[in-house]
Symmetry: C2
Subunit: 269 residues, 2 copies
């Protein structure tokens, strides 16, 4: 799979990182993007060998990576499914929700839904890094065809990442808790900090710093993901709010009621 042509649809931070890594592996990389300026920049920074149109991309590559936001990902999947027979022997997406992707991709051959569990709060190919996926997990939803799964695993490993088989439903429930819920908490927390006077930044601990960092990721990036996975996120958000209130009561009335929240006892010195 390394001595192939890799096509990248969407040359942002993720698509650009995949492109950089594929090139450093020896693959020829062609790219396509709805924004001509982004494509031009990807050429300039050496993430891709050639800029092509959407149709030239799928017709001209062996492995096709759809590295766009959710909505353009679903549209590209539908466009590809309407083609007679795709040239790529492997087509993957990298969207951060998987149930809508699996639903849209029913008619698409050679497709494996995936999600690299790595990212950056920065946008565009300027934020791309060949080592973005190094030692990170990269989830994929296995197909019926074992040969196809093997190709997906090989491609993921070629990115330096560790393949993680999952169902679309398990994936979406898990990231609701481990990624989408923290993102909303970070947004609410950062709003509180903004409303506060004074030199708070000097007092940031590591968690405050991380929450503020991801809160800067922007609604445009998150809107579709949060909407697509709202059914999993909403109950967890209410559950967390319902945990915070008794914790506030404990602070006001009985500090030791907080003890069961803490997993370990720690030591005294």
């Amino acid at each position: 799979l390394t001595a192939t042509t890799v096509g990248v649809f969407g040359v942002g931070a993720i698509g650009g990182s995949i492109a950089l890594r594929a090139r450093s592996n020896g693959a020829r990389v062609i790219g396509s993007d709805a924004e001509p300026a982004a494509l031009e920049q990807a050429l300039q920074v050496g993430a891709i060998d050639a800029a092509v149109s959407e149709r030239q991309l799928s017709a001209g590559c062996d492995v096709l990576v759809i590295a766009a936001h959710l909505e353009p990902t679903l549209r590209e999947i539908e466009r590809l499914a309407a083609e007679d027979s795709p040239r790529p022997v492997l087509i993957i997406d990298v969207a951060s929700v998987k149930v809508p992707v699996v639903r849209a991709a029913r008619g698409l051959r050679n497709f494996v839904p995936t999600h690299p569990l790595a990212g950056t709060e920065r946008h565009g190919v300027a934020a791309a890094r060949a080592d973005l996926f190094l030692e990170r997990r990269w989830a994929y939803v296995p197909a019926v065809d074992d040969e196809l799964n093997s190709r997906a695993q090989t491609f993921i490993a070629s990115m330096g990442a560790r393949p993680l088989a999952t169902s679309a439903e398990e994936h979406d429930r898990a990231v609701a808790l481990t990624s989408h819920l923290p993102q909303i908490v970070a947004a609410c927390y950062a709003k509180m900090l903004r409303a506060n006077d004074g030199n708070l930044e000097s007092f940031y601990g590591p968690v405050a710093r991380e929450l503020v960092r991801i809160s800067g990721m922007g609604f445009a990036l998150w809107r579709e993901v949060l909407q697509a996975n709202a059914g999993n996120i909403e109950p967890k958000l209410r559950e967390l709010a319902n945990e915070l209130r008794p914790a506030a009561d404990a602070l006001a009335r009985d500090i030791d009621a907080l003890a069961p929240l803490f997993a370990e006892k720690g030591t005294e010195s």
Copy 2:
């Protein structure tokens, strides 16, 4: 101040890190600890030159660092205040709340309340590192005596940290938001994760990882701090819970109601 004897009361992760750094600066370091085993370990890892009693400590050093939890810190301050005239030309504490310390220390000469904004989730002198404070802020509550403040600034700078002048009230309000609130959120969040089946850890993003990491710090370490600063933390915890509920409503009914939570718009690609 570097060619002095530094006394460290409490040789845990913070006190041990101060001791290691002071020794690497050329100071002689003596240590005292309520737990003989901790003191023995501090000798073994080379954090201190000599292990002494509480009374020998204050009588035998030029700079005294009280690096204990809040309650033993307050007790040591009261013990020192009852002494006739302390030998140390500078006495500091490192407790993470400052209002109770300022209150307890009214009768104590040469004392400057401080708080290094650095730490580790690990306990004991084995977790000590000479570079723990490097480039980190180190808050202090200025005294009336400018000469004393200058000594505190010099000592903080000798630790590799950046001195940050603050009032005790401003400090405690700020860390309620930037440190104590995130700690309780982390505890509530980690409880939710523990209650969940399945292989969640593979799906951790950077924030989930950080929240789980600090949630392991243990109640023993946090109990006194959370109690002492409860008046500042409790309203902020309720405020956060009150932000999460409309966010959950937005997820269920109108995703665009989330937009104002996000500070920046981000870009589309």
